[in-house]
């Protein structure tokens, strides 16, 4: 169990981490999410006593990190993929780690086999690909058979098979009762791995809840309708106490609506429908919405107005498709910074 109490880190006049309090329970994979620059890595470095907090503290099973006697056997951490001397072999890299904490030297070959690097154990790590560097970093984290594991962006640079492997590894480590704390800026990855979510933005805690709850709260559905007779349709829907919101581009959406029922209402009123499609907000969108306000480097100026937290009903569905499904995450930060739905609609209309 790792506990953070009012953890704060200030660089000059910039608050990198702002009174962060949460606990990382054992036996589950806790996902640590936030946009780039949200303070994830700073927080992880403070947990490991690499950065000194401005105020607040971190307790690991009730103790400060520096009080751990053999940290390698207690916490395994992967911080950067290629934090290695390029001239040193993988085996020697693990060997010095083992020696520093009295880990039996045979563990070196065990973890090398575990991550699939046995064949290149004596090669210079400078020639490793990013993915191999990640594997070596994971091997180093597992070296002391620790009860707590921290991974900072572990799937970066891995191929699909490697990603699957890391995912299963983390789940298995948690199933063995270990504490697994994984940071990522990819909600989609966390959705497949994490049991618990901690979301931060601009150093502040935005959410600390089980993944199932996050999904329940954020995967609201809606029905998108397109019709050449909007007035007639809106009247028909209003008659059945169904509210449709315009979402721009001539389309309307009914939050939490039932497509079959809306189709029947339209047919009864004799309204022509050009589109009747159920929409479902992805977790990615929910996460982006939650953190949009706290993205550090926004493309546009101005402060947004959307509340940090689960999206309001009705607004949760159109976003992804309106912004263009192919746009990468970050492509639409600028329009979000314009402020909530107003900004979005303006972009859609332009």
């Amino acid at each position: 169990m790792i506990e953070l109490h009012e953890l704060t880190k200030r660089y000059g006049d910039k608050l990198a981490v702002d009174r962060l309090s949460f606990a990382i329970p054992p036996g589950v994979v806790t996902g640590f999410l936030g946009p780039n620059g949200a303070g994830k890595s700073t927080t992880m470095r403070m947990i490991l006593d690499l950065d000194r907090p401005t105020s607040g503290r971190v307790l690991i099973d009730g103790r400060h990190y520096a009080q751990l006697r053999e940290p390698v056997k207690y916490i395994g951490a992967l911080l950067e993929a290629k934090a290695l001397h390029p001239g040193r072999s993988a085996r020697n890299h693990l060997l010095w780690l083992a020696q520093s904490n009295r880990v039996p030297v045979r563990r070196v070959d065990e973890v090398l086999a575990l991550v699939g690097l046995s064949e290149v154990a004596d090669k210079r790590s400078g020639g490793f690909s990013l993915g191999m560097g990640q594997r070596l970093g994971i091997a180093a984290a597992l070296l002391g058979d620790p009860r707590i594991l921290m991974f900072d962006e572990p799937v970066n640079g891995l191929d699909p098979e490697g990603i699957l492997w890391v995912r299963n590894l983390m789940k298995r480590l948690a199933a063995e009762g270990r504490t697994v704390f994984v940071s990522s800026h990819l909600m989609s990855e966390m959705a497949l791995t994490a049991d618990h979510l901690v979301v931060i933005g601009r150093g502040r805690l935005l959410a600390d809840l089980p993944m199932t709850e996050f999904i329940d709260r954020n995967s609201r559905s809606a029905v998108r309708i397109r019709t050449p007779q909007p007035e007639a349709l809106l009247d028909a829907l209003a008659g059945a106490a169904v509210t449709a919101e315009p979402v721009g581009d001539g389309a309307y959406e009914v939050a939490g609506g039932d497509a079959a029922k809306i189709g029947e209402l339209a047919a009864a009123a004799g309204v022509v429908l050009h589109e009747l499609s159920p929409q479902r907000a992805s977790l990615e969108e929910a996460f982006m919405r939650m953190t949009a306000e706290s993205v550090e480097y926004q493309a546009g100026g101005g402060s947004g107005t959307a509340a940090a937290g689960p999206p309001a009903p009705g607004g949760s569905t159109a976003e992804g498709s309106a912004a263009g499904g192919s746009a990468g995450w970050g492509a639409d930060w600028g329009q979000r910074s314009g402020g909530g739905r107003r900004g979005r609609r303006k972009t859609e209309e332009s």
Binding site: D49, E80, H85, L97, N101, G116, D145, R172, L173, E176
Partner: protein
């Protein structure tokens, strides 16, 4: 470079090695993680383990081998060449050890590079974080680094100057006559200690600056600049800088100092004092800083 394909090498085999099934049954005991979790450690690892760890680090990178080879090669090779050149032209009473000064000055540049890289290679790659995660006591890490570096340079430095001195006495001794024992001691023991002090100063500067190129430049500047500045720094400061420069200290060890009044050991002590101050600064910085 061999490139393991994760699919056959990594994926399935790794999974097999890992144990069977997400249950990770502790009673199973057929994979590395089939064992129960480690018991709470009782005894803290000490400096001994940090030393073993740092020794593995320093011996397992090619840059250590190269810089030491260059240092030894410069002292023995350049000195030896000067000895060979002087065959037949020495007169009784000549200071034949002075011929080693050129190689020694070149060799200390390689020692500077080794001392700086010992610490800055970790800062450059981010590996310092791994080091401090596994050994949160930062003073211990720096002490272990300094001890391992000092031991290595002391042995290699003393051996290389000794080798040069043996060569000089063997080849030129018949012509130049016996060398005073004190002069041999100054050169061999003093030379080895001087290189050790320079290595430690480089380590301190590397720790303070955390940047390889910057620290190497600062150290080379420290060795060379006083000689240049000494010529233009006025009547009081100028001679002082010249007398106490690293170059003058090196020269005095080889019996060809600028100022015979100031003994080589006193100059060496001055250098060691400055190194101690820089090391103290390095300790303070290492303890206080975020990494």
């Amino acid at each position: 470079m061999a490139h393991p394909t994760p699919s056959p090498a990594g994926g399935p085999r790794a999974d097999a090695a890992y144990g069977d099934g997400p249950s990770g049954d502790a009673a199973h005991g057929d994979g590395p993680y089939g064992r129960p979790l480690p018991e709470s450690p009782v005894q803290e690892p000490g400096l001994r383990h940090a030393l073993a760890s740092e020794w593995t680090k320093i011996r397992s990178v090619p840059s250590t081998v190269w810089t030491l080879a260059v240092a030894v090669g410069a002292v023995v090779g350049i000195g030896g060449a000067a000895v060979a050149w002087s065959r037949g032209s020495t007169r009784p009473g000549d200071n034949i050890l002075g011929l080693g000064l050129g190689g020694f000055l070149v060799g200390q540049i390689a020692v500077i590079v080794l001392g700086v890289l010992t610490v800055t290679s970790e800062y450059g790659s981010g590996m310092i974080r791994t080091t401090l995660v596994v050994c949160p006591r930062r003073t211990r890490v720096l002490t272990a680094k300094a001890a391992v570096l000092a031991g290595l340079v002391l042995v290699a430095g003393t051996a290389s100057v000794g080798l040069f001195a043996a060569l000089a006495v063997l080849v030129l001794g018949p012509g130049a006559g016996p060398q005073p024992a004190g002069r041999l001691l100054d050169a061999v023991a003093g030379g080895g200690l001087y290189l050790t002090v320079v290595a430690l100063m480089s380590l301190a500067v590397g720790t303070l600056l955390r940047h390889g190129a910057g620290a190497i430049a600062a150290m080379i500047g420290f060795v060379l600049l006083p000689v240049v500045l000494g010529l233009f720094a006025g009547e009081r400061l100028g001679p002082y800088l010249l007398r106490h420069s690293a170059v003058a200290t090196s020269a005095s060890l080889f019996g060809s100092g600028l100022d015979p009044d100031t003994g080589c050991w006193r100059l060496l002590a001055t250098l060691a004092g400055l190194t101690a101050v820089l090391l103290a600064g390095a300790y303070a910085a290492a303890v206080r800083r975020d990494v």
